[in-house]
């Protein structure tokens, strides 16, 4: 568990270092995820400790969004200015995005002849 957590932190650190040094507009942890995926693909398996650490963190993923979400308290005034425009746009655009993504993905999978799981 602890070794696994150290491995996750190590890949995050490598990701942060590369984005800082290269100026790629991608957050360090996202690059760290890509590097860890590459590493386990080369290794052809996920070491036990890494799997345990990963599964424990992902089980509590919703909790991890709470501190940032409370930050909405600071945007109250900005949000109020255009509240209706923002609300309508967010709801309609998010619904459209979900619809288009699902339909395009389903359509292309049919075109590629990939079976859907139930």
């Amino acid at each position: 568990m602890l070794e696994g957590f150290a491995v996750l932190l190590l890949f995050q650190l490598i990701g942060e270092l590369i984005t800082r040094l290269s100026g790629i507009p991608v957050p360090g942890p996202v690059l760290g995820m890509a590097l860890l995926l590459f590493a386990v693909l080369l290794l052809k398996r996920v070491p036990g400790g890494v799997r345990i650490a990963s599964e424990s963190l992902l089980r509590y993923l919703p909790l991890l969004f709470v501190p940032a979400g409370v930050g909405l308290i600071n945007h109250g005034l900005l949000l109020k200015q255009d509240i209706w425009v923002i609300s309508i746009t967010l709801v309609v655009s998010t619904a459209l995005t979900l619809l288009v993504t699902v339909l395009v993905l389903q359509g292309l999978k049919k075109l590629w002849g990939i079976e859907n799981d139930a």
Binding site: G69, L79, T94, T97, V102
Partner: protein, 240 residues
């Protein structure tokens, strides 16, 4: 005498990170309990309920967000390693991702273009301000990338961060009824759409559905973030 002692205790507690760290956990437990009592309704999503409880508490006690965050940062910090750990479910589903690689990438581009173009058109149609629009454009992208994009195209990074969170919540609410309407039962397809439209919020919700849904949501969140950083500034040139 008594109120004074309580006041002094409060001053001490409010200044230490312990109180707000514990309150965040308690608010989340309470929110999970409320959500279970409500039959798992997405309207009472545990994350939303917990945020509402904590915002209410900060407003009542007149606590600045910065003070709250001194305690909550220990939870926030775990977000980094949690994103890295998404590599594990992606590895588990590697065969399926390899098989569906091109449909997934093309659906991702279609989703990003829809999100951006519909936002621009709607805000202009409804007569919103231009700088509001520029802060709304990266709304489906995971927070750290969205803030960078907003800055690059001339929006407000702080507002963009808030908008991203609200979008995540809206996506969690809209996703399940839309999948039901379209009769989409495949968890991988559901997950991918949720990760694309509602980034980490959607991904977190998908992991409570199944590991497969979570893996595809995480994949969509990552790929959307990477592609958006390049695509959004490019698309916005057409609307300048």
């Amino acid at each position: 005498m008594m109120p004074e002692v309580i006041f002094e205790l409060w001053v001490y507690m409010a200044a230490s990170p312990l109180l707000h760290l514990l309150l965040t956990l308690l608010a989340f437990f309470l929110a999970q309990w409320v959500n279970r009592r409500a039959g798992g309704s997405p309207l009472l999503h545990p994350v939303l309920v917990a945020i509402a409880l904590l915002v209410g508490f900060l407003l009542i006690t007149d606590t600045p967000y910065a003070t709250y965050f001194e305690g909550a940062q220990f939870i926030h910090f775990l977000m980094g390693p949690a994103i890295v750990s998404l590599a594990v479910p992606l590895f588990d589903h590697r065969e399926r991702i390899k098989r569906e690689f091109f449909p997934l990438i093309l659906a991702c581009v279609a989703g990003i273009v829809t999100a951006v173009v519909s936002t621009v058109v709607l805000v202009r149609l409804l007569g919103g301000r231009e700088d509001t629009m520029l802060s709304l454009v990266p709304k489906s992208v995971t927070t750290p990338i969205a803030m960078g994009i907003a800055e690059q195209i001339g929006g407000f990074p702080a507002l963009a961060a808030g908008i991203v969170l609200i979008t995540g919540a809206i996506g969690c609410l809209l996703g399940p009824p839309i999948f039901k309407l379209l009769k989409i039962k495949d968890h991988a397809v559901q997950g991918f759409a949720m990760g694309l439209a509602a980034h980490g919020f959607g991904t977190a919700q998908c992991f409570s559905l199944s590991n497969l849904a979570g893996a595809f949501a995480g994949l969509a969140m990552g790929v959307t973030g990477l592609l958006s950083a390049f695509l959004i500034p490019l698309i916005m040139r057409f609307f300048a």
